[in-house]
Point group: C2
Chain length 197, copies 2
DNA sequence: AGCGCTGCTGGACACGAGTCCAGGTTCTAC
DNA sequence: GTAGAACCTGGACTCGTGTCCAGCAGCGCT
C-alpha cells in the first residue's frame, strides 16, 4: 500500500486537512470498514476503530464526533468516488433511473454488514451526519436529474428519491433484504416513469 | 381524569398487563408526549418521563427498555387507535391511497416535535422497536391493500410504502417540512396510480 | 381484619461515550 | 541542525444510560 501521496477522497470532516491528517482520517475510515465486517455495527466503537487504525482514541475523536459520523463518512467517500458513466439517451428513462438508484444503493453492497450499518448511521441527528446527508442528497439529486433530463417531471424525481430513502431505510432496519433491492428499484422506476413496454 | 376502567389501547409492551400495569404504562406514554412537546426529543430521557408520570425510573424501565421504545410506542398506539373510514370506491384510487398515507403520516402531526421524534425513534435497532416497526408496517400494508383493492398492483403498493418510509425519514432528519407532506404524498399517489384525474 | 401476592420504590452500581489536557513526537522552514 | 508549529498520545474525568435488588405499599381473598 504505502499510499503516501495518492489523491485521497475529499474529506468531509474538517476543512483544510494536511496530508498527514488526511492520511490519519483515511486509516480510520479503512479501519472502520474492516471493523464493521469483523465485529458488526453494534459492537463497533470509535475506540476500537482507533485501535485498529493504530491511532489514539482522542485523535479519532478530533476527526469524528461519533461512530455514526465515522460510518457515514465511509458511505459518503464511496458514493462520491463512484464512477458515473455518461448518460446513454438510447436507453429508456426507467433504465437510466434504475442505474443511478442502484449505483447509490450498492455503493456498499459488497458487504451486507456495511450496508446495514451505513444506513442506520446515516440517520443520526448529529450535526456532522446532517451535513453528510445533505451532501449525499444533493449529489443523488444531481445524478438523477442529469440522467433523466427532460424525461422526468419534478414529481417523478421526488418520488424516486423518496423511494430510495425508504428502501435504504428498510434495509437498515432489516425489513428488506439487500438482494431484493435491484428488482424492487427496477419496478419502481418502471412504474414512476411509465416505461413504454 | 380518573380513567379507571376505560379501554386503554392494546399494549405492545409486555403481554398480559394487569389493569394497574396498563394504567402505569398509559401514564408513561402520556407523559412522554408532554415531555416531547416541552423539552424536545434529544432532552427526553426515560428518567424525566418517569418523573413527570409520577413513577420511579426503575418502574418505567420494566416496561420500556429505552427512550426509543417509549416514543415508538406512542406512535403505535395512535396509529392503531386511528379511525379508518370505510373505503369509498367512487373516489379515485390515488385519492384513496393519499388518505391512507396521510392518515399514517399525520398521526402525530399536531405537534411537530412529536412527529420528528417518533420518526427518529422508530429507527432504533432495539428488539422492542423492531417489533413495533413490524406491526406498524403490517397494519399500513393492510390499510393500503384494503383501500386500493384490485386497483393497484403489488408493485404500486410497494412503491407507495417505500415512498412513505422515505418521507417520514426525511421529516425525521429535518430535510422535509412536515407541512410539505400532504402535497408531496398526493403527487406520489397520482403518479404511481396514474390517476386519470 | 389479617394474609399474601403483585407491583412500585429508590438508591447503588457497572459500563460506555465523549471531553480535556499536559507532554511527547514528527514535520517544515530557515 | 535547530526552532517552532502542527499533530498525536494516553490517561483521567464527567455524565448519562440501563440494571439490579431489598424493602415497602396496595389490592384481593378469606
Amino acid at each position: 500500500m504505502s499510499s503516501s501521496a495518492v489523491q485521497l477522497p475529499t474529506a468531509a470532516t474538517r476543512r483544510h486537512l494536511s496530508d498527514r491528517q488526511a492520511k490519519t482520517v483515511h486509516k480510520l475510515t479503512e479501519a472502520a470498514v474492516v471493523e464493521l465486517i469483523e465485529v458488526g455495527y453494534p459492537a463497533l466503537t470509535v475506540r476500537t476503530v482507533a485501535k485498529r487504525a493504530g491511532v489514539a482514541p482522542a485523535t479519532a475523536y478530533t476527526y469524528f464526533g461519533s461512530k455514526e459520523h465515522l460510518v457515514a463518512e465511509v458511505f459518503w467517500r464511496r458514493f462520491e468516488a463512484q464512477e458515473v458513466p455518461p448518460t446513454d439517451r438510447r436507453r429508456s428513462p426507467a433504465a437510466r433511473a434504475t442505474d443511478v438508484l442502484l449505483g447509490f444503493a450498492l455503493v456498499v453492497a459488497d458487504e451486507t454488514e456495511v450496508a446495514a450499518a451505513v444506513t442506520v448511521a446515516m440517520l443520526a441527528d448529529d450535526p456532522e451526519v446532517r451535513e453528510l446527508r445533505s451532501r449525499i442528497g444533493l449529489l443523488l439529486h444531481q445524478r438523477l436529474s442529469e440522467a433523466l433530463g427532460d424525461d422526468a417531471s419534478a414529481a417523478a424525481i421526488s418520488t424516486l428519491e423518496l423511494a430510495i430513502s425508504g428502501a435504504l431505510l428498510q434495509v437498515g432496519t432489516g425489513h428488506l433484504a439487500y438482494g431484493a433491492i435491484p428488482d424492487l428499484l427496477a419496478q419502481v422506476s418502471a412504474l414512476v416513469l411509465k416505461d413504454p413496454r
